[in-house]
Structure formats: structure tokens, C-alpha cells
Amino acid sequence: MSHILLRHRDIPDLHKMAVYKKNGGFVAFKNAVTKMKPNEVTDVVKNSGLRGRGGAGFPTGMKWSFIDNKGWPHYVVANADESEPGTFKDREIMENNPLQFLEGLAISSYAVGAAVAYIYLRGESWQVAALLDEKIAEMEEAGYLGENLFGNDYSLKIHTHLGAGAYICGEETALLESLEGRRGQPRVRPPFPPSVGLYGKPTIINNVETFTNVPMIMANGADWYKRMGTADSTGVKIFSLSGRVRKPGNYELPFGTTFRQLIYEHGGGILDGRPVKAIMPAGASSSLIVVDDKVLDTPMDYASVRTLGSELGSASVIVIDDTVSVAWIINKTVHFFKHESCGKCTPCREGTYWMQNITKRIRSGEGTEDDVDLLLNVAKQMQGKCLCALGEFSTMAVVTGIERFPQDFKKAVKV
């Protein structure tokens, strides 16, 4: 099957304006602005069943329809912070198929009445931002950005903005704080960004991959899109496959593809032919899944992965084989969250600090059985008490690791 998002893999030089246009580029945007009302665009996206690709899977069209039409101006922000360990899909899109992403951002901006859109990139993506700036300039020159587009009264500007190395800025309200020139610490919600967002104005925030779907949905229709994937999770998803597989990488597949197909057909199986022991389907934030045949044959969609006691999230599938100890894994994930905690609330700030100390002890074989109990206790104490999801994320692998892989904590613990 040809790609819908990673189309550059089928069409060489798709990042070039002439090539992108020759392959249908900007027809959907022009069509939207000249022939459709903004809410009609939103309706098509709603009917397509598109859900946000940044992790939470929130229905995109529904989010757009929440934009507050009493407050103006409206803003659209593309979340290109991509910092979850195991996620590397947005970067491939922006580097190779930037115009489709930008067209999606433009169509979305039209749909919610925004005249200015920002792309918030992680600071490490310095080169990607430079490329996007170049593409934005080309779009201005070609009449796809600027004043009175296509002779209509719709105008749009797009700006890039670089973060500076903080995972928490991927959380949408922390991102807004950062974009406003403050430290990236989450806001209390509600109010949600569609009512009070950037500069206190109604704002729609979506992930890069979410936007990149939009031109294809507008060009081919909601029904075309819905025919792919499952009833609950329509369309295609980019799965970032990493860890102990032979061929790690991005794989664009319909929702409902099984773990087995992803790991064995696409990923070439496990290094040294070892068995799969655990899967983390949503990067470092995942609950660990104990793998057996039934799990491998589970379709990857939001609802099915939930039945395994985990979440699909941004579909960053980290594969772990039987050579790896779960005690080591949770030390790695906790180290990450301790480093990235923004420090705003006590349970997360203190909890990640203690979890780091204890997991380090356990991992190096100096832990006692009391340490494992203490660790589980600290993690559970944190749950439900943190201001944003990062605190919660930090406990997922810890709790499920200890509860689902008890044998790994006996080996590591000195008695």
C-alpha cells in the first residue's frame, strides 16, 4: 500500500514545491478557502474519525468545534516538541514531507479562523526549523500564505518557534507558557486552550502527524479515510518501532495492525532471534505489557491496547527481549522523568527524586526487598496527585514493572 503520511517514501523530492504541487499539493487548501465554510471543513474532519496523534487520541474535529467564537483572535499551534523516548515520527514528516504538514496546518487554521499559527519545535530540531522557515517562505511566494489568499479575505501567517530542551513543553499548556516566554510549567486546566490558550485567546493545539493527515482527508473525503483502520481508531498511524528489533524505524500502517505484524513482518523480528518479553507501546510513559501469543496478535488501536492494561499513546513501540531486566528498565524511565519533572508540584518533584534513588539501588543489586515495597508505595502515592500527566507517566512502568514482572525484582535484590 502506498503511504498517506510518509508519501516521500513513494515520491522522490516531495519536499520540493514543484513536486508537491504536481502530486496534488495545495488543491485541498485552495478548495477549502474558496469553496467551503470553515465549519464545513471541521465537519469533514469530524466525520473522518481522525483522532489526535500526540498521545491522548482526542477526536480532532470535535476539538476544533470547541473553539470559542466569542474571543478573538484565534491561534493554531502545531506541537512539534516530540520528546517522548521512543518517538521519532514527526521529525521524519517535517524533514521529508514538510509541505503536506504545512498545508494541513494551513487548512486547520482556516477551519478555526486563525490568522496566525505557530510551530513549536524542540530546540534540538534546529535544522528542521530552518527547513520549515524555507518552506514557509516558498509558500508565501507561491501565494499559499500571506494576505487575501486565493483572492479571498482569508489571511494566514505561520511562524516557527524553538524550545530549548524540556520534555514537559510537549504538554500543551506548558508549551503555551513556553511560547509566551516563560518557564515551561503546565497550567491548571480547565480552562482548556480552545477557550483560553495562547495569550489568553482561543487556541487549537494539535500534533504534527495529526495536521499531516488533514490534506489527504480533505482531498479524498471522510469515507475514504474511515475505510482504513478500525471503527474506534480510523485511518493510518505512524508506529515508531525501537528497542531490541532487527529493523527499528517508522512504519505507517493502518490502525488494527497487530503487534506481531509490526515486530516480525515489518521490524524483521528480534535481535539474535530471542523471544519478546515485554512491550512498551507508548514510549517511556507506557505501562509494561507482559508478552504472550495473545498479546502479539492484539490489534494496535486505542481500545484494544487498553484491554492489555496499557495505552497506545503516540504509538512509540519499544520492544524488550528476554536478555533485559525490568529493574534496569524502570531505572532508565525514572531517570528520564526525574530529569524532566518541571518541579511545580511536590508529589512529582519529590516522588521522581525518591524513585530515582531507589531504582538505582535496586538496579545495582544493592536493594533489599523493603526497597521494592517502598518504591511501589512511592509510585502509588504519586498517582492521582500530580498537576499534569508527566507525574502520572513516571509511575506507569514502575508499578506495572513490579507487579507484572516480580521475578526481575527478586534477582536484582540482595537478600
Partner: protein, 165 residues
């Protein structure tokens, strides 16, 4: 020299991205600009940025302190930032970093004797399928280096020695 004097066009262009009443948004791009030459933001630059944006110097310093890509101290000309997060570690990133330390004769966090390279361990760089991976943060911006080996890295360091500004 002041930022405005040194990079007048860039400062203007950066400020034009944000509504004038919210020009404080420009603090992050301006800090990158200030960091470009020396690899860290000095006190004078923080003062100037505070002045341009009409915020306090303490506020600017707190931004520098919060984000890991801003530095307030001089390090090697290039910061070599190796990812050792879970997906990369599952593909040998820790061993790679250790071997590199051994070859360079420095520990993580230290700088080579010639002042060229500071070696650091960092969190995920969104290149997990191409481990070992690191970025170099230097006068020419931030660059990715993927599917690296110790030998390739040593070659890269030799090449960096030749770079003149």
C-alpha cells in the same frame, strides 16, 4: 558588542514573529542568538534581552536556568550530547558512551584538554532507531550524528579541530 548592534536584522526579524504587546515571547530565540558566539549566555546579554523585552533580568536568568539547551557557563567549543535513554540504551548507547570516554580520556561532563569537546549524556533526541546517536551543539548550531561508532566519532572530532570561524 550588544546583540542589537551585532545582529540587527535577526533581532528585528525575531521580534516581528510575535504581537508587540507579547514581545516577551521573543526571549527564547533571543537567547539562542546571544548564545551563538561563545556557547553560553553572558550577563550582559541577559541584561540587554531583559531591556529589549521590558522584563527583569531575573526573569531572563530563570529561563536560562529552566531549559537545558541554554548555558550560563563556558564549556568546550562543541558540546557532544550522547543519548542514553531507554530505546538507545537497548541498542548499546551506554557502552558506546563509556568507550568514547575511555578513548578521549575524560568522564561524562568533562572537556577535552584542548577545549574542543565537552561530553554529556542527555535524554531522548528523537533518533531512537539510529542509536548510538548524539548531537553536537556548537558555533554552527545543533547537528545530529546517527548510527555512530567510536571510530566515526573520533574522525568527526578530528574534523571539528579543523573548523575555523
Amino acid at each position: 558588542m550588544s546583540l542589537v548592534k551585532k545582529h540587527p536584522k535577526e533581532v528585528k526579524q525575531i521580534l516581528s514573529k510575535y504581537p508587540p504587546e507579547h514581545k516577551r515571547s521573543a526571549v527564547m530565540p533571543l537567547l539562542y542568538l546571544a548564545q551563538r558566539g561563545e556557547g553560553f549566555v553572558n550577563k550582559a546579554a541577559m541584561q540587554e534581552i531583559a531591556q529589549i523585552l521590558e522584563i527583569t533580568e531575573t526573569e531572563v536568568a530563570s529561563i536560562v536556568g529552566f531549559y537545558t539547551l541554554y548555558h550560563d557557563e563556558k564549556a568546550g567549543k562543541y558540546r557532544m550530547q550522547v543519548c542514553t535513554d531507554l530505546p538507545c540504551a537497548l541498542r548499546g548507547a551506554d557502552e558506546f558512551l563509556q568507550n568514547l570516554c575511555g578513548n578521549l580520556g575524560i568522564k561524562v561532563g568533562e572537556t577535552t584538554a584542548d577545549g574542543l569537546v565537552t561530553l554529556e549524556a542527555v535524554t531522548c533526541l528523537a533518533g531512537c532507531d539510529k542509536a548510538p546517536v548524539f548531537q553536537t551543539q556548537g558555533p554552527d548550531g545543533i547537528k545530529y550524528h546517527e548510527n555512530m561508532t567510536v571510530d566515526k566519532t573520533l574522525e568527526l572530532i578530528e574534523a571539528l579541530k579543523e573548523v575555523k570561524e
